[in-house]
């Protein structure tokens, strides 16, 4: 998995590439929590993610909780079918802010 971060005025965008599983989700969790500290809106680009497991989902939930605590926003975009399916299976598709494109995620 590769993670790249782009900082903008009112948001930080994190681009993720590769599989999110038990081996890679701790690194993702750490990066996202770190990035969240410095921005009011964390935008996560999942376009390059072809696989996510429950540990990845748990990491995203943890970041969402922290965002809510701090009155910040976590927005996901670019979800492909595989990622959508896992969010549906775990019944979390209604809990996250999900957008189609980066433009919509930043709007």
């Amino acid at each position: 998995m590769m993670i790249a971060t782009r900082e903008q005025a009112e948001a930080t965008i994190v681009d993720i590439n590769g599989d999110i599983d038990m081996g890679t989700s701790p690194g993702l969790r750490k990066t996202l929590l770190e990035s969240l500290k410095a921005t009011p809106r964390l935008v996560v680009n999942l376009g390059g993610v072809r696989y996510i497991d429950s540990s990845g989902i748990a990491s995203l939930v943890e970041v969402l909780k922290e965002a809510r605590n701090k009155q910040k926003r976590l927005v996901l975009f670019g979800l492909n079918t595989a990622v959508r399916e896992v969010l549906q299976l775990t019944r979390l598709n209604k809990i996250f802010e999900i957008r189609e494109t980066e433009e919509q995620a930043l709007a």
Partner: protein
């Protein structure tokens, strides 16, 4: 023994062409191998005739089960051994995991409700949702988890 059979699943015999297939793996309990096993399972599910969505689900369930062995049974030690047998029978695709780590506490399997914003506890729910039969037990070699998925041609949605 702790077994679960999904109520909606029935089966009729419909042997696939070409006889049974077996693939037994023994792998190091290292998360770097998770993607390798996913790749194996995904292709095997395709050979069994599963379509894309079912193939992705089966791969997810196997990955969750393997991750649980690495994390819970072996407590993240990366130098242990896990056995994963895959068997294509006349009516199902069956996976059997064996480890020599700590046995699963049955009261924690599917113990957390799925719809809350919990930061864990989803793996065993996913496994049970996706697979038709889920069975945890002990055998002489160690802890065993068996997962069964009925083959697509014989799945009856009764």
């Amino acid at each position: 023994m702790n077994c679960h059979v999904n109520a909606h699943s029935g089966s009729q015999t419909a042997p696939p062409g070409g006889g049974p297939l077996t693939l037994r793996m023994r792998i190091t309990s290292d998360p770097r191998l998770l993607c390798v096993v996913r790749s194996t399972v995904s292709e095997l599910a395709t050979v069994c005739g599963f379509e894309d969505e079912q193939r992705r689900r089966i791969t997810l369930a196997v990955d969750e089960a393997l991750s649980n062995v690495m994390r819970h049974a072996y407590k993240n030690r990366r130098d242990q051994e896990i056995e994963l047998s895959c068997q294509v029978c006349s009516d199902c695709l069956e996976f059997s995991f064996i480890d020599r780590g700590e046995a699963a506490d049955r009261s924690r399997i599917c113990a957390q409700p799925l719809d809350e914003i919990a930061t864990g506890g989803r793996g065993t729910h996913l496994i049970r949702q996706i697979m038709d039969e889920v069975c945890y037990d002990q055998v002489s070699e160690g802890n065993r988890l068996r997962l069964k998925k009925y083959l697509p041609c014989i799945k009856s949605k009764a």
